[in-house]
């Protein structure tokens, strides 16, 4: 029975990958570790109790007792020296100076201090008998999908697609070139298209494991759900993987050494790690940068992934970001094929 070259090349790709423990860690383990660490560090805690200082003076204990009655506040009576230190170091959000009038000393640029002022004033005014004039009711809602981890998981997915696409293709191609294995293949009747396709195929096969690991982890550990359809998610990740595999091919098309390709790889990836909204929203960058940031393939991919996972958006409405992702892939492959160094 004849072996098919494309199948054998793809098998070789996959074997070389899964027999390399470091590669397994960076592709599967590292994103999970990152998701876990960041998910824990930035879990939603709410503001907690606000610390209020009361300056030691006649009437201080009455004021402190009134403040302590509010569940949002914790009051402590302080000497003036101590009060100054704690205020300066941010240990207390607000200092109340007893007297008539009462004085609230706080930094109005700190959100926490302004919140403390409102809560403290409310507590003290009520304690002195101010009635509520309108009747109100609180409805407390914690929306899954609005937490940091919900934002993070799609971003990590995008970053992982970029990393494994670029490294998986770029590194292997350049390694084959430096070891003269590429030249050896050129000495056989192997088709060049089969060689390049084998990278794409092995990427796609591992892709499903990568997604399953990260999405499954997010769901089990943090209850991150996929609101949109899994079909849409799969399609977007496949497109992203293809696009970054193409970019990897371009990065590797000329490089003769591992050092050269590593440098190029970081040059391509580093700006996207920072700019493309993996760890924080890219809307924080100045308006002038936005068109550039939005044109990056990882930005577009992250936007599409978040739209499907968080908002449950359908594919039809994701035409623009998906076109950007596909465009980068197509142009990269086109250029790579033109300039590829086959030996």
């Amino acid at each position: 029975m004849r072996d098919r070259p494309l199948v054998q090349l793809t098998l070789a790709r996959m074997r070389e990958f899964y027999r390399e423990p470091e590669a397994i860690f960076w592709v599967f383990g590292f994103p999970l570790v990152l998701a876990f660490a960041l998910g824990i560090a930035f879990r939603n805690r709410g503001p907690g109790e606000l610390k209020i200082g009361v300056l030691r003076a006649p009437g201080d204990s009455v004021i402190a007792a009134a403040l302590d009655r509010s569940p949002a506040l914790a009051a402590a009576v302080l000497d003036s020296g101590e009060a100054r230190t704690q205020f300066r170091t941010g240990r207390i959000a607000l200092l109340v100076v007893p007297g008539d009038p009462l004085v609230y000393r706080y930094d109005s640029t700190r959100t926490e201090s302004r919140l403390a002022r409102l809560e403290a004033d409310e507590a003290l005014q009520r304690a002195r008998g101010r009635p509520d004039v309108a009747s109100v009711r609180d409805e407390r809602v914690t929306e899954p999908g609005s937490r940091y981890i919900d934002f993070l998981i799609p971003g990590l997915l995008g970053m992982n697609l970029m990393g494994s696409g670029l490294w998986g293709v770029g590194f292997s191609v350049v390694q084959a070139r430096t070891k003269k294995l590429l030249k050896r293949f050129m000495a056989t009747p192997m088709r060049r298209s089969h060689y390049l396709l084998s990278f794409i195929l092995s990427r796609l096969l591992f892709l499903f494991l990568e997604i399953a690991a990260l999405v499954g982890f997010g769901w089990l550990m943090f209850g991150v759900a996929v609101r949109g359809s899994f079909g849409a998610l799969a399609l977007i990740t496949v497109l992203g993987a293809l696009s970054f595999a193409g970019l990897g091919m371009l990065v590797a098309s000329r490089a003769r050494t591992i050092e050269a390709v590593s440098g190029l790889m970081n040059l391509v990836m580093l700006p996207m790690w920072i700019l493309s909204g993996t760890f924080f929203s890219y809307s924080r960058f100045p308006d002038a940068m936005q068109p550039f940031v939005k044109a990056l393939p990882l930005t577009a991919l992250n936007d599409a992934l978040r739209a499907v996972m968080i908002d449950g958006t359908g594919l039809v409405r994701l035409g623009a970001p998906l076109a950007i992702v596909a465009g980068w892939g197509a142009v990269s492959v086109g250029v790579a094929l033109k300039i590829f160094r086959w030996r």
Partner: protein, 315 residues
């Protein structure tokens, strides 16, 4: 029909001329050796013949076909590649694939081929079937490289320094593989800088230096061209007596040629039993003291030295 025919091959790299107008014809069924020091242009030549390097000028014909028919990597080139087996000097096969997986990968590129087991038997690597390539010894890796070249049942086998860096036993094992391939009717072109290898394996050798063939013939013919079959080498203790002039040495009975060297003098000698006593007598009359005296059968190494004045290994 000749298996390989090339003429007027030229290849320049920046300011170095690697191949300077090379002509070669290798007959079908022949084992032909390209012999020469490092940098003589052997690898460039073999890679031009293999269609991996584009020559600046010249014509190459393999098995009646030419490279580049229908474009590089096109169907015509692939059809020619089906009939070749190639081992490259510097290829490092993937460490994390097993021997059998590697052979199977290469096998898949060809329409007609040996089975994996057949070719592993040819190079005696059956026992290493499941071992990772990275765990093989140097000799085993080299035999695997040859297995990948043989898997296509080639008509023409190219081997670029197949035994460089191997221990004597591994070298002999590879020679055996090459002999079996030839016995089955295959044609071989190999490069080497080991004289012994060329003498034992090759029907004909071309000695290369600075991108040119400086001698061509059977090993026996080339050695015979020295005019004598033996070489006597000697060296003297410094400062003891006067060193005989080359003309005096050449006049000794049985001596055909004299090659003075920096640390020793070599005499090409037809009759050792006449030349050695005469040499000893001459040195004694001069009060010179020997620090070394050796004789050996003339080899291709001596041919190279007599043509270039340099040793092959450190040329």
């Amino acid at each position: 029909m000749a298996a390989i025919r090339c003429s007027g091959l030229v290849k320049r790299y920046a300011d170095v001329v690697a191949v300077a107008g090379l002509e070669l014809t290798v007959a079908a069924g022949e084992c032909f050796g390209l012999l020469g020091p490092n940098g003589a242009g052997k690898t460039t030549t073999i890679e031009i013949l293999e269609g991996l390097t584009e020559p600046d000028a010249g014509d190459v014909e393999l098995l009646g076909m030419r490279w580049g028919g229908g474009g590089a990597g096109g169907a015509a080139d692939r059809a020619l590649r089906e009939r070749l087996g190639i081992q490259l000097q510097e290829t490092q096969l993937a460490d994390k694939l097993t021997v059998a997986e590697t052979v199977r990968l290469f096998r898949s590129f060809y329409t007609s081929s040996h089975s994996v087991d057949e070719v592993l038997a040819l190079v005696e690597l059956e026992e290493k079937r499941g071992a990772w390539v990275g765990k093989l010894s140097g000799g085993q890796k080299q035999r695997l490289a040859v297995a990948c070249a043989l898997v296509s049942r080639p008509e023409l086998l190219f081997l670029d320094e197949p035994t460089t860096g191997l221990d004597p036993q591994s070298r002999r094992q590879l020679w055996e593989v090459i002999r079996r391939f030839r016995a089955a009717g295959g044609t071989v072109l190999l490069t080497t800088h080991y004289m012994e290898e060329a003498e034992r394996l090759c029907d004909r050798v071309a000695i290369m230096d600075h991108g040119k063939v400086i001698a061509l013939g059977t090993p026996r013919e080339l050695i015979a061209s020295l005019g004598a079959e033996h070489v006597v080498e000697f060296a003297l203790v410094d400062g003891a007596g006067r060193v005989p002039a080359p003309e005096e040495l050449a006049a000794l009975p049985g001596v055909q040629a004299v090659r003075p060297g920096p640390d020793r003098t070599a005499l090409t000698v037809a009759a050792v039993h006449l030349a050695v006593p005469a040499l000893l007598g001459l040195l004694e009359r001069r009060g010179a003291e020997l620090s070394m005296l050796a004789t050996h059968h003339a080899t291709l190494e001596d041919v190279f030295v007599s043509l270039t004045g340099r040793q092959l290994r450190d040329a």
